[in-house]
Point group: C3
Chain length 341, copies 3
């Protein structure tokens, strides 16, 4: 795709200042845009855009002098979004069930589903209206996928699990793998059957390679509107509240109960069987080892209030000199004790 | 599934105290059970069950007064397990090889195998009796899967790898990906061929998204009875002993040798080329940076005895005040030095 | 495979000292070799090989007395590599497109491609010459895979992403999953469309279960020659320089820019939107929380120069006794203050 700046201005209903014949071949943000790209800027980023590498910049109507070809519009964000659609060829999936998919017995298929080659919907599963199943997805026996949900390639929803409406399950995610439960006798580990399931409520997003383990009995639950990044582990019987954000590589151990609106930064870990209160933020790498109240901002391992963690980190850097100073003081003190002894 | 408490009592051969017409729609543990569920309790949890939310509680015959509808039986655990079977519809897989699977040339298939649609068994592979291969599994050339093992959807066993008997390989696990081996010259990394394999001994369980890398040469070995949780990385040429437990998101670097009966908590990491002695426990987040003896309980990074780690963590919390106190003492000491100088 | 030591000597053009009829059934390195294996040793490892468990050892011509059957050759490494080929049955994949693969519309297939059963190449994708696609790979619409690249089973390259030449993408890796981008209003998270892509330059290796997220707009880029181990997360809009090494379970947050020749040890984490200078090494578990210069060797969380981290770790171990000593000194000082008061 190649368009002149003038052509793009006409497409979005804006006006050009500077050379209208500049060729635009791509779109990117201020940092990433190169000499063949258009970017956009709104306050407070307009100054930063003056020295960027883009061929031209889309700006809000009314911005003053600008050192590059500019495309002025009323609403840069909205206009840029329209250009993104223009530059990104639309995907086109045929509605219906591919004759290369496998649909088991007693399966319920909603209207307007898209089921691609080599997807498997096993016996007794229920697929809601307008669900999209990419290639190599496996929906197990008696599992349900709610309407308008999308399951990307290689993802599995194991038997008896329920996926809500408008959920997105990214590539190779696993919903409903066995919880890690064993009894040990004489050093030999025997599997505890994991006969529960997983329930994803509505509007949940599950990242690539997430593993959400099925409950030993009952359900592991991910609350509505919760969004989970890549490579996250959720142990069996966890109940994660609504509207949480769980960043990549975090692990929540089994039977942990999390309130609503909790953010876990990347690589957080928790022990199991605890309650973590609502409306809280845990910084990246937090290690949570006990029950936590609502409304906190914490960091560290073991976790502590974020300001205390900062103070402790600062003090730790001075630890070697502190150790040295203590030794010197001890000598001085010993000398006085000797003198005055 | 909906049953009255009376119907369930008849099914398990127990007796009801309180309203026998209570409708039971699900089963769950004490914490998870809601007002339509039956739960069960044995000592020391019976008191906790008095105030739970369950509609009714299964209890050992002989338990005293109880404030909820109760179902008394001789063996609550065993009776509850029978109810779990009643409430969970059984999965039903046709024996045999799906005509939508792909079986390569010179493949050996045992008796009673279940090979589901879009599974691939590549040339010269050997599949033991009663093995189950879910959809989208790939068993590479010359690989072997021992009798009674189950390989869940999306998992791969790459060429020349051996899976023992009664193993469970969870969804999207990868057995035998290349080890991370490169030689670097002038800043350019050249791949060292990884021509070894992976051997899983009998009764091994491999979690969802685990990656067990094949040896550069020889074998990466997971000892019999070892159970591995989700998202674990085992580097090339590791030898993990029998009956270990490796919790989620742990990474064991290449060529590390681990004795029997070692437990690694979640998110543990180790350097490579070390020996880790048998019969030990490493707490979550341990970072193991050298050889370790047998029979230890350790924590921290770098790893240290667990009690020392606790002591160090406690001291660290007081570090900022310790720093302040040291400054004050220094002033006092300086004053005395001046006065007595 | 069973060969006598004499037969192997003839195969590689070497000479035997000691019993030439020793039966060799496998090959392994010094540590791993057992009593039926041949190993090899060059300086400085020849002494170590004297007491190994191997049945016989391949040595450089000119090595002195040796206590085991030995096979002398001019170039042990090269000769051993030839034996590895002899002992490892070659894989044999038919060239061409399996009639069980699915090729979409308007797809470009290069010469000499190997496309295995149940691989999916979606509409408008471009597959270069001699590319190998294993079973259950999914190449999305408008995606491109460069010549001589290999995509292992279960891996996905999502729509619009570009894979360079001679790349290796290991099992179940995901190239181009959505970046983790949401706007939050009144506690509800709304997805920001991720319309960019991923570009893997030439000679990149992507480990099993890696997730390389597509850019919100523009491209997430992995520079040429960069090698990534298993279970690594690369956030949206990252630009990773050429010839980096990223060890297992590391997570690089979104919009981070990394120079060339940077090594990240295992389980490293970074915040987003930072610049990490070239030619640096970050030890395992480093937590990088801000911009970093070129040419550093760092460790710890928050990251600091490696030598300082070592010093701090050493001091931390003495923290409890330091605390005790400070208390004693305080008492002594107080006594003197009292006495001289």
């Amino acid at each position: 795709m190649k368009k002149t700046l003038q052509e793009l201005a006409e497409f979005v209903g804006g006006r050009v200042a500077g050379d209208p014949s500049v060729l635009i071949q791509g779109l990117d943000n201020i940092e990433g845009a190169g000499p063949r790209d258009l970017t956009f800027a709104v306050e407070p980023h307009i100054d930063e855009a003056r020295s960027c590498k883009a061929a031209a910049v889309m700006l809000p109507e009314g911005t003053g002098d600008f050192p590059k070809p500019a495309l002025y519009v009323e609403e840069p964000r909205a206009a840029f979004a329209r250009l993104l659609e223009l530059f990104t060829p639309k995907l086109d999936f045929s509605a219906g069930v591919s004759d290369k998919a496998h649909i088991g017995e007693d399966v319920t298929l909603g209207e307007g589903v898209v089921i691609m080659p080599f997807a498997v919907v096993d016996d007794h599963a229920v697929i809601g209206d307008r669900v999209t199943l990419y290639p190599h997805t496996y929906i197990g026996q008696y599992a349900e996928v709610g309407e308008d949900s999308v399951v990307y390639s290689g993802a599995t929803v194991r038997e008896h699990c329920h996926v809500g409406r408008r959920c997105v399950i990214h590539c190779s995610a696993v919903i409903g793998s066995d919880g890690f439960g064993f009894t040990t006798k004489d050093g030999v580990h025997t599997k505890v059957p994991q006969v529960g399931n997983v329930v994803l409520e509505d509007d949940v997003e599950i990242g690539a390679h997430d593993g959400i383990d099925r409950a030993a009995m009952g359900s592991t639950v991910i609350g509505h509107g919760t969004k989970i990044d890549n490579l996250v582990h959720i142990g069996h019987n966890c109940k994660i509240g609504p509207n949480c954000l769980i960043v990549a590589q975090t692990g929540i151990s089994g039977s942990t109960i999390v309130g609503h609106n909790v953010t876990f930064g990347g690589q957080v870990g928790t022990v199991g069987h605890i309650h973590i209160g609502a409306n809280s933020v845990y910084a990246a790498r937090s290690g949570i080892i006990g029950n936590m109240p609502e409304g906190v901002f914490c960091a560290g391992f073991p976790v502590q209030p974020h300001t205390e963690w900062l103070r402790m980190q600062a003090a730790m850097k001075h630890l070697p000199e502190l150790q040295k100073k203590l030794k010197q003081m001890e000598k001085r003190l010993a000398r006085y004790e000797k003198e005055s002894g």
